[in-house]
Amino acid sequence: MGGTFPRGAASIAGLATFGLGAMPGWTSIELAARAGLAAIADAGLALGDVDGLFVCLPDDMLGGLAIAEYFGLAPRFTDCNRTGGSAFMSHVATASIMLAAGYIDTALIVYGSNQRSGGGKLATPVKSNRYEAPYRPIFPASSYALAASRHFHEFGTTRAQLAEVAVAARGWANTNPEAFAQGPLTIDEILAARMLSSPLSVKDCCLVTDGAAAIVLTRTERARDCPKPPVPVLGAAAATWHSAISQMPDLTTTAAAESGARAYQMAGVGPGDVDVVQLYDAFTINTILFLEDLGFCPKGEGGRFVEGGRIAPGGALPVNTNGGGLSCCHPGMYGLFAIVEAARQVRGDAANPIADVEVALAHGNGGTLSSQATVILGSTATL
């Protein structure tokens, strides 16, 4: 029985983002609560309808309890699952199954972080383990740099190809009013940027911003009565093969190869059916690895695949159409923003709308390429 999923039983009925960028004077829980309220309103529901709460806050490992108290809710189920920035994709899996089973009726998945205004650095309670820490890797950048070094070695991937990823993300961000990083960005500028942990420069790294996001899920038949078009969850799968980068079996293949394959199978679609792709781009190498592992190009071809603006506005495959973690926002855990953007594309209300989106994929990454989770959303026509 393992591996089954209630395809299309639950839908995203409401969504919201709030405060992407710099929000001095706001706490993480205030940002999260504001996004949560907006998502509930977007779904046409009332606060008291929420009976399942799925929460991540950067500074509170028990953030679900804090949000329940803040909202004055007594949920049937509260989840503070932490698998890194992919946690929200796992939340979607849990919430969908609970909704389909009738365990809960309305799930709120919510996240907020003031890491930019609060500290100005990536806010994470995670660090290198005792077998890695003495060598002083930059956590987590050096882990991704090691993966990139291996990809360069095995497949001839280049820094210019990594730079293509960042330039494409900026291209999308430039026409997204919500995106934090805007303005021209060239491959040469990225190649000349200060090296952080080779082969990754500071321009290969995601932003440090504030921001919040929230989605409301309910059973699809109920979501059809909500004001916005329902966005059914066709599949959601997670995979973990390692925690520390030194224990990753093959630095050029992530567990997205497993989470993606299982999510496709649940959804009854393949990469060729996906109209728009949202990938957790904490670093430029991520986009290349995930395009390969999720089947959009063969293993090793990711660098060549992104050349010539293929994933940029006007390219053959729209990827990270909000600007991604590289240019839209990265408050510390980006996964929920990828889901929101995928759902907006299905609804047709994204800032950079792609025409006729029937299937959208949102992929989350956590730890040091450790936790991989894939959500496939569709329009009601796919049911």
Partner: protein, 120 residues
């Protein structure tokens, strides 16, 4: 058992010895130290002394705050087929190459034993 396997490993390193575990039935060599063979759960582990020889699998050069020079961080595949994070000493950080053959050396840094490697 007086300590966990992690402490057994650390105390050996303190004496300049690099230990690994081997599952006796499968022959699989294991690192970091564990209570069982990952995947199978077999607990028939024995300690073996590593050859100390390995090959650089992945490498990064990290910019440090001046005046500290840049330093390298690598993943080394030991000849016993385990992978670990370390550092290559004795050459400039930029000279470290994937595929380079390296030999283990234990030194003391900040009162703790530290496993590093040198190019051979």
């Amino acid at each position: 058992m007086s300590t966990g396997p992690g402490e057994v490993w650390r105390q050996a390193l303190d004496e300049g010895r690099l230990l690994l575990q081997r599952a006796q039935s499968s022959g699989t060599v294991i690192f970091p130290p564990r209570l069982m063979e990952p995947g199978t759960g077999d607990t028939d582990l024995e300690w073996i002394e590593a050859s100390g020889m390995g090959t650089v699998y992945a490498a990064t050069v990290i910019a440090r705050k001046p005046p500290e020079p840049a330093s390298n961080v690598v993943l080394v595949d030991l000849d016993e087929h385990v992978r670990l994070m370390s550092r290559i000493d004795g050459i400039a950080a930029e000279e470290v190459r994937i595929g380079m053959r390296v030999r283990a050396r234990v030194l003391t840094e900040g009162d703790e034993p530290l496993l590093v490697f040198e190019a051979v």
